[in-house]
């Protein structure tokens, strides 16, 4: 582990998993699903609070499931529909462990959504691409130095996730954006398989 990455104090990590075919999904389908997650207390380790719906906002945060520890969102930012997990409260471990944890929680949610009978199998997440961000302009400014510092740990975690497949990282260098890295893999495992590799339950 790089020492710089180990020092990355921000816990506000974000993972976005992109939907394969957004045209198969209606914008209003996630409100009742997220309400039912609250009713059934489906997400371990999270105090689920409420659902916020911004489907009326163009390329906005979509439908959010607000929790104390994090927000889950079917996000439409930058024009791409995806499941976003945005951590708000601290996680244990160094940066590498925290990154693996948010990936696991996001994949668990993805599998849960894919299996929701109300969506009738229409929702699938891409297994070959994801977006990592850090929601903290103070501790993780979106500059090349941050990317250089975090790259080794990101590569290590994603190498385990993609089980040896080629993974390329591209820094989102837009200075107005949060620090972000697009990861693309040569393989496209299912959400369930990715979750299994992260040690989560399917």
């Amino acid at each position: 582990m790089s020492s710089a990455a180990a020092d990355m104090e921000s816990h506000k990590l974000i993972v976005k998993l992109f939907v394969e075919d957004p045209s198969a999904i209606r914008a209003d389908e996630f409100v009742p699903i997220f309400h039912s997650w609250i009713q059934m207390r489906l997400v371990a380790g999270h105090q689920l609070i409420d659902v916020a719906d911004y489907k009326h906002v163009h390329d906005g945060p979509g439908t959010l499931l607000i929790a104390h520890e994090a927000n889950f969102a079917m996000d439409r930012g930058q024009g791409r529909l995806g499941l976003m997990y945005a951590r708000k409260q601290p996680l244990d471990g160094a940066f590498r462990q925290r990154l693996a944890s948010v990936l696991r929680i996001a994949q668990e949610a993805a599998v849960r959504l894919e299996e929701d009978v109300r969506l009738q199998g229409r929702l699938r997440f891409r297994g070959d691409e994801l977006l990592l961000r850090i929601n903290d302009r103070l501790l993780a400014p979106n500059v090349p130095q941050t990317f250089a510092a975090l790259r080794p740990d990101i590569q290590t975690v994603l190498a385990e996730l993609y089980d040896g497949a080629d993974v390329s990282l591209e820094h989102d260098a837009n200075p107005e954006h949060l620090f972000g890295v697009y990861a693309k893999a040569s393989a496209s495992p299912s959400a369930a398989e990715l979750l299994r590799r992260l040690g989560g339950r399917t």
Binding site: E9, D50, H56, H58, G60
Partner: protein, 764 residues
């Protein structure tokens, strides 16, 4: 990576006094966590910094099936009475007269993204609100705002709230002069002023450049100034027609004329004098009577004026106002740079529709103000950043929020409108219809507000969608109507001054609570909110879209010449309007159509607790509904009498309506209660008020006091104002009786529920 805080990073960017105040607040947070500051004191402290509570922050939320306890790490630590420390809250950010520059817009975008849910929400008073904010993030938010010249100080609490002004100020054709620098001067003069720290309630100020237009809504404010000039000794001098004591809320008041002309140099000292009188004589204990409007009503405008002028004459000198006043002549706004003219650009599809409603040619030749229509007042962080860039490139860095929850871009060169439109299209902000029926105003309602009863945003979203689809085929008269929606009677959506207004309430039907909206017709948006609507009856939330179609259709079909909607309402009369509304009051049984029993945009069943449906309850409900219907009818008759100028009759009928509703409740326990006012009031007090059954968690016994006050000491002046007030109170009393009935029935059902298996164990 080095660890650094925003406090360290921005140390040189924040004015010293603002930095000290933020440090102090952070210290108060620490003391509260140690239990060294009382929770009530801390609550008012944070409120005066704009840090509000939000729905479910008491740690309980009904999920549609049951009430869940919300368990947070810091439980039971609170940040106010019944308000958990970790529960997400709302941060209100004051934007004086709505003025924003690109740097501020970028910071707002960043804050929404990093600490909220990625949305900046524009309010009906030109503020920006962030929701789902954790209190531990608040000091960083304050510091980042302060570094770009924004303070949240006194955005909430019993203080001078955001000073608003017409968003067209400075570019408007009908204004007498630009009120922007005066709004700015007064906002910062009164900010934190010692004479504004001891109010019993909030204090709202607005400025308008002219009398006739609605942009600033002076009539609904505690203090309002309308620009005016006067020739004195052969010279034109500036001043203001000054109004006081306006306000919406549960009992709306039109502002009263304080002075036909207050010279500009008197504005700040006189506002201070008014603040001192309000602090000294305003109600402090009963928050429901504590706004300035009640003080003005109690004293009468003449006596209030006399006291204020005496205060102005004798109050201690405070030369600090001069510093703010002297800034006024230096205020300047204009285009950032002369732009290269690009004539002959091809208009993209949709441009003409957009330009017809969203572009206002400025007083300054060659320039236009563009209204960016925000759906439900919401703009994402990405959109806000893009809009900041646009504001810099097209508008000389000048944008403003509006009371209709939009953003205006000023000083756009008219030859650049087409390219601006294309850029707005790219970020999804080129929707036409600004300032039309499709541009609906709505407060947060049940989405996030603790007081919300029904989903104002859900209804607004549904209506916006439907009306946008129909917009092109609408007659112009319908396009120009305004719809405004509040989630409860507190009027944050300003439903009183809309052509068609709604506020949320509920009704009990067959043992279920059904979301409803009270229909408000006849309000006047023009003339600075010139007249207020009256309630026409409650309609189930799910029937509101049909009601609007019928109302608009009747208006178009029956309209005479250029008759306005208000004039049409007045001509056909409230009886006919009531008949239209009554067509939509029916609620199908739950078994036939359960959709009526949940609100727009929220699939949870709209319910109170674990209520069931019992046969006995059904009978009681049937009897109670009959009584409530009679009470509502009497309240409506009181309105008709009020309109006819029969103020004593209106007063007596409104009193009768409250008695009927109270008797209906008493009959739940004593079926044969005699129809005698003294008996009804005594039994109602003993059976429902004293045991706190007729009780509102936020308004306590306020509604019961309406009846007690009228019964025990009737106001025999019988003026339009006193009768109007009682009619409003009667409607609120009936609403409260409905809620009391629902709670009462729920408690009966709990008692009747079979004992759970676990409790049967010991006897087995």
């Amino acid at each position: 990576m080095t660890s650094i805080t925003w406090k360290e990073k921005l140390a040189d960017s924040i004015p010293q006094d603002w930095a000290s105040q933020i440090d102090l607040f952070e210290a108060q947070m620490a003391l509260r966590k140690q239990g060294k500051i009382d929770e009530k004191v801390f609550a008012e402290t944070r409120l005066r910094r704009g840090t509000y509570g939000q729905r479910y922050d008491n740690g309980r939320r009904h999920d549609g099936l049951t009430t869940q306890e919300l368990v947070y790490p810091n439980n039971p630590l609170t940040k106010g009475p019944d308000t958990l420390w970790d529960a997400p809250g709302m941060q209100r950010i004051k934007i004086p007269f709505g003025a924003l520059n690109p740097q501020q817009m970028r910071v707002l975008a960043d804050l929404a993204e990093e600490y909220s849910d990625g949305i900046c929400h524009v309010t009906t008073r030109q503020d920006i609100q962030l929701h789902f904010v954790h209190i531990e993030d608040v000091p960083s938010i304050f510091r980042r705002l302060a570094a770009v010249g924004i303070t949240t100080r006194e955005a909430c609490g019993n203080s001078v709230r955001n000073v608003t002004a017409c968003p067209l100020a400075g570019v408007c054709h009908t204004e007498v002069f630009d009120v922007s620098p005066y709004a700015k001067a007064l906002a910062f003069y009164l900010l934190g002023h010692p004479d504004t720290q001891d109010f019993g309630r909030k204090f709202k100020i607005a400025f308008s450049g002219c009398r006739d237009k609605p942009c600033a809504l002076v009539s609904i404010h505690d203090l309002g100034g309308i620009a005016k000039t006067k020739v004195v000794d052969g010279k034109v001098v500036r001043g203001f027609e000054l109004y006081v004591g306006g306000g919406l809320g549960a009992v709306p008041h039109q502002a009263k004329l304080f002075d036909e002309f207050v010279p500009e140099e008197e504005l700040l000292p006189l506002a201070r004098a008014i603040g001192r009188v309000f602090a000294r004589l305003g109600e402090k204990k009963n928050r429901n009577k504590a706004r300035l409007k009640f003080l003005v009503a109690r004293l009468g405008i003449d006596e209030f004026r006399r006291i204020v002028l005496e205060e102005r004459r004798t109050m201690p000198e405070d030369p600090s106002w001069r510093r703010f006043f002297d800034e006024i002549p230096r205020y300047h706004e204009g285009p950032g740079q002369e732009l290269v003219q690009l004539n002959g650009q091809k208009k993209p599809q949709g441009y003409d529709r957009w330009a017809a409603t969203n572009v206002y040619p400025q007083r300054q030749s060659g320039y236009a103000t563009v209204t960016v229509k925000l759906p439900l007042g919401d703009i994402s962080s990405d959109q806000m950043r893009a809009l900041a860039d646009i504001t810099h490139r097209y508008c000389g860095d000048h944008a403003r929020t509006t009371v209709e929850q939009n953003i205006t871009l000023r000083w756009v060169h008219q030859d650049k409108l087409v390219s601006l439109y294309r850029e707005l299209q790219q970020i999804g902000l080129a929707e036409p219809g600004a300032g039309t029926i499709a541009d609906i105003t709505a407060c947060p309602g049940t989405d996030t507000c603790k007081l919300g009863i029904a989903s104002s945003r859900g209804l607004a979203g549904e209506l916006s969608r439907r009306l946008a689809e129909q917009f092109d085929s609408m007659p112009p008269a319908v396009k120009n109507l305004r719809i405004k929606i509040s989630g409860c009677f507190n009027s944050c959506g300003q439903h009183h001054v809309a052509d068609i207004g709604f506020y949320g309430n509920s009704r009990n039907v067959g043992g279920y609570t059904v979301p409803h909206f009270q229909v408000m017709l006849g309000g006047r948006w023009r003339d600075n909110g010139g007249s207020y609507a009256l309630a026409m009856g409650s309609v189930p939330s799910k029937r509101i879209p049909q009601l609007i179609e019928v109302l608009a259709g009747r208006y178009v079909a029956e309209r005479q010449g250029d008759e306005s909607f208000q004039d049409w309402c007045a001509r056909i009369g409230k009886k006919q309007l009531k008949e239209i509304v009554n067509q939509f009051t029916a609620v199908p049984p739950h078994s036939e159509d359960p959709s009526f029993y949940s609100d727009w945009g929220d699939p949870r069943e709209f319910t109170i607790g674990d209520m069931g449906v019992g046969e006995c309850a059904g009978e009681v409900v049937s009897l109670a509904q009959f009584g409530f219907t009679q009470a509502e009818t009497e309240a409506f008759e009181a309105q008709l009498m009020l309109d006819a100028g029969e103020y004593q009759k209106a007063d007596e009928r409104a009193y009768r309506a409250m008695l009927t509703a109270a008797r209906t409740l008493v009959q739940l326990q004593w079926l044969d209660v005699p129809d005698e006012p003294n008996v009804i009031v005594a039994e109602f007090r003993r059976r429902f008020v004293e045991p706190r059954l007729f009780w509102d968690p936020y308004h306590a016994g306020q509604f019961a006091n309406y009846l007690f006050s009228r019964h025990e000491s009737p106001d025999t002046r019988y003026t339009q104002d006193t009768a109007h007030k009682l009619v409003e109170e009667a409607n609120l009393f009936i609403d409260a009786a409905h809620k009391c009935h629902a709670r009462y029935q729920a408690s009966l059902n709990v008692l009747k529920a079979p004992a759970p298996a676990a409790s049967a164990g010991p006897t087995a």
